[in-house]
């Protein structure tokens, strides 16, 4: 009883236990679910969500939200094939350029929120709409195929049988956990999220941290965009759309307060895995796409209720 109680006070662990339970039950009842290849595939899908949600976790911890994540993923996925210079055999220059652009977009989001005092929800939504329009103008409606070797390596390589995307996710996870728990800036994000006024009067610079945070979110969304592109081999308008809501859902499923000030990326990781697992299970059920969406939405809502996330304050 006591163990159960303490479990409910530790959302990241609770989400992890939930994932383990779902995997165990599904593995025993559904043929093929528990196969190594299938589980590996789930993790590979979760890696994209997890990386996109890395920036989202940081932003939400500080009490903001980034609605441009999906658009930034699309921008990078379409830009990399277009801007990778032909003289670069590694493809790293194109990747670096695309990541710089993604970070720059995030920086603009931060500048709007910090200096123009536009609420982040409006600023990032406007940015997303702007980018989508720009992409239609620049890339037209057609898909672009990627030939950048670095991107293809990231999307397709399996050193020692482990997909490179999962390895990238591990690196991102380590970095984000270090930022939140081992660096001063992480403690400042949390303080700003819980009480911006008290944090400001304690000498925490709101503008500076907002800029850093949204730039980081742009960077991680760009990284997710490159991974998606490598896995798909093609970039097209709308490729990033599914990752906006899933990035937010993964954060909240992981027990991070949507109001800011409380939570950790350690919850977002199992949150992302839980999301792709749920999607996979729904796909198994033979239903029309409409019903799948309805089931997905209902499931997310009930998962949130089960874990009683938003603790009464």
């Amino acid at each position: 009883m006591k163990a159960v109680k303490s479990l409910f006070r530790n959302p990241p662990l609770l989400t992890l236990v939930l994932v383990a339970l779902v995997w165990l039950v599904a593995g025993l009842t559904l043929s093929g679910f528990g196969a190594y290849g299938h589980l590996r595939y789930l993790l590979e899908l979760a890696a994209v969500i997890g990386i996109a949600a890395a920036g989202q976790t940081l932003v939400i911890l500080m009490g903001g939200i980034d609605l441009s994540v999906g658009a930034v993923i699309t921008v990078t996925a379409i830009l990399v094939p277009l801007i990778s210079p032909a003289w670069d055999p590694t493809g790293l220059v194109g990747v670096a350029l695309a990541l710089t652009i993604a970070t720059g977009i995030g920086f603009l989001n931060g500048a709007g929120a910090a200096y123009l005092r536009v609420p982040p929800i409006i600023m990032t939504l406007a940015m997303a709409t702007f980018l989508q329009g720009l992409l239609v103008v620049v890339a037209g409606g057609s898909a672009v195929t990627v030939s950048n070797p670095a991107v293809l390596l990231l999307g397709q390589a399996r050193p020692l049988g482990v997909p490179a995307g999962i390895l990238l996710w591990l690196v991102v996870s380590a970095a984000v956990l270090l930022i939140i728990h081992r660096m001063p800036i992480g403690a400042r994000f949390l303080a700003l999220g819980a009480n911006p006024l008290a944090a400001r009067l304690s000498g925490v610079s709101v503008a500076r941290n907002t800029l850093i945070l949204y730039a980081l979110s742009g960077f991680f969304a760009g990284l997710a965009g490159i991974l998606v592109l490598g896995m798909n081999r093609q970039g097209y308008v709308g490729i990033g759309d599914p990752y906006l809501l899933t990035s937010i859902a993964a954060v909240v499923l992981g027990g991070t307060s949507i109001l800011g000030g409380r939570g950790t990326y350690a919850g977002t990781i199992p949150g992302a895995i839980l999301l792709v697992t749920t999607t996979a299970l729904i796909t198994v059920v033979n239903a029309s796409p409409g019903w799948r969406s309805i089931m997905f939405g209902t499931l997310i809502l009930s998962l949130l209720l089960v874990s009683g996330r938003e603790a009464r304050r």
Binding site: L178, R182, P184, A187, L190, A191, A194, L201, S205
Partner: protein, 502 residues
């Protein structure tokens, strides 16, 4: 006078939270026509007792009796129906609604199912006149200063024509003038036969207004007696349970050092074109009625609100700090009056709050140095006698201990100028004494302390110099023996007095 039946009683009430007993068998009886004082240090159980008496909480055992009859399930609705009203310490007003709507909220006169604004305004005008609220009734409460909001809160309680009125630290944000009006209202209600319960940390008010006292200590009643013949010393003895020395530390002869703050033509917020200077080793008090620019003076010097000055030298640097970071770097720190909203990150641990301003200084190669942080936190907790586990959320602490955290977090920066905004508001007497001693020690170490306060005795007995603000201007600067309650109040209200040499 008290031979009548009590209107409201608690009989042997017990109440605990999460297994911690807060009230252990408390009796209290409120009689009509009597002002009853409830005293006790923070954490003694006063708030819990008030919540039981107003139906906000149910006792674990024991009973609440109205008109001598125990009430089974005493809910806020039953309490309202029985004519019990509470003026809460934490303001419970809705900022966007008007004064009239706030006062009438929950008891709107209706006509055809709609709010009858004409009737509402008639009733509201009457109670506003009683408490001296002259602002237009349709003004949003958000536009009022804190002290005026408190008067609205009191008017709201009066609007319900209560038979029992509970006032929880009603004067903590009031100016001396407003407190005087409130005292008049209390005396009038008493003469009309209302039973009043008065909670305050200001003993002179208790002595002036109250006839009977109940003292709580650690959840038990340590005194329940008439106040006649008990002086201030006696009250403190009742509360603390032992002899206390003077509340204020002795004031040594002031030998100010180098100028630390020197501004002329300074404007920030409500403050208009003032000259202000202060030297190392001084405790300078900022007094005045509530909302005359005291807070803006501190915030302006701290770089937290836009400010300008024709000439400024702050902590050895010319010019005002551009932002809070620059002020901190120059050795200025600020402790806000509203510690819950401005001073502390309430849901976070005591440790994270203590370490917040020092995060950058302690970091090595961009990473936090955990052992160094833990050492510093333990040291701060020990120096300020903050007891218990520092991993607890800071909101679990009593008001006094929260204030200690809000102050302690700045010590590692070795500040040369401390800007304090009402640091003892809602703080119990023992902690007050600790804070006063600490401030004296800081001054002796050559730090400058600028202290805005709504507690006049604090200004009189603690400060070496008092600057009284009125409508954003300096109304008087009082030094040494010229500092007295009369001189401060007189200057604050714009009355010319002897000794108030500007």
């Amino acid at each position: 006078m008290t031979d009548k039946k009590p209107l409201l009683e608690a009989r042997q009430v017990f109440k605990g939270f999460f297994g911690n007993p807060v009230l252990k068998g408390v009796d209290i009886a409120l009689h009509p026509g009597r002002v009853h004082a409830l005293l006790g240090e923070n954490g003694a159980g006063k708030s819990t007792l008030i919540n039981l008496l107003s139906g906000a909480l149910q006792p674990d055992s024991g009973a609440i009796a109205v008109d001598g009859r125990p009430v089974g399930r005493f809910s806020p609705a039953t309490a309202r129906a029985a004519g019990i009203a509470v003026v809460q310490q934490e303001l419970s007003l809705t900022a966007d609604l008007s004064i009239a709507e706030n006062i009438g909220l929950g008891a709107f006169p209706r006509r055809f199912g709609l709010i009858d604004y004409a009737a509402l305004h008639r009733g509201v005008r009457e109670v506003c006149a009683m408490v001296g609220l002259t602002e237009p009734l349709d003004m949003p409460v958000a536009d009022l200063a804190l002290g005026r909001r408190q008067m609205v809160e009191i008017a709201k309680a009066l609007f319900r024509k209560p038979r029992v009125l509970i006032l929880d630290e009603p004067t903590s944000s009031l100016s001396a003038h407003e407190a005087g009006i409130l005292a008049g209202v209390i005396e009038m209600l008493r003469d009309r036969g209302t039973a009043l319960l008065y909670i305050s940390h200001r003993l002179n008010e208790v002595q002036a207004l109250c006839a009977h006292v109940t003292v709580l200590k650690d959840g038990g009643v340590t005194a329940d007696q008439s106040l006649s013949g008990i002086d201030g010393e006696g009250l403190v003895r009742l509360m603390v349970g032992r002899e206390t020395g003077d509340l204020f530390p002795p004031r040594p002869a002031c030998t100010p050092g180098a100028p630390r703050v020197d501004v002329t033509g300074f404007s920030a917020g409500l403050v208009r074109d003032i000259a202000f200077s202060a030297r190392a080793g001084e405790i300078v008090g900022i007094g005045g009625l509530v909302g005359q620019g005291q807070e803006d003076l501190l915030l302006g010097l701290y770089g937290a609100i836009p400010a300008k000055a024709s000439s400024a030298e702050v902590s050895g640097k010319s010019g005002l700090p551009a932002d809070v970071g620059a002020a901190n770097a120059a050795g200025l720190v600020y402790v806000p009056a509203d510690r819950k909203h401005e001073g502390l990150v309430l849901p976070h641990s005591i440790a994270s709050n203590l370490i917040l301003p020092s995060l950058g200084r302690l970091a090595r190669n961009g990473f936090r140095d955990r052992p160094a942080e833990t050492g510093l936190i333990a040291d701060l907790a020990r120096r300020l006698t903050i007891k218990g586990d520092v991993a607890r959320p800071v909101q679990a602490l009593s008001g006094g201990n929260q204030q200690k955290v809000a102050l302690a977090k700045w010590l590692p920066l070795d500040p040369s100028v401390l800007l304090l905004n009402d640091p003892t508001r809602g703080v119990d007497i023992e902690t007050k004494r600790e804070i006063y001693l600490m401030l004296r020690a800081f001054a002796a170490e050559g730090r400058l302390i600028i202290l805005a306060s709504s507690d006049t005795p604090e200004l009189v007995h603690l400060c070496d110099r008092v600057v009284v603000l009125r409508e954003g201007h300096v109304a008087a600067t009082l030094v040494g023996d010229a500092i007295s309650e009369e001189a401060i109040v007189g200057a604050a209200m714009g009355v010319d007095r002897k000794g108030a040499a500007a």
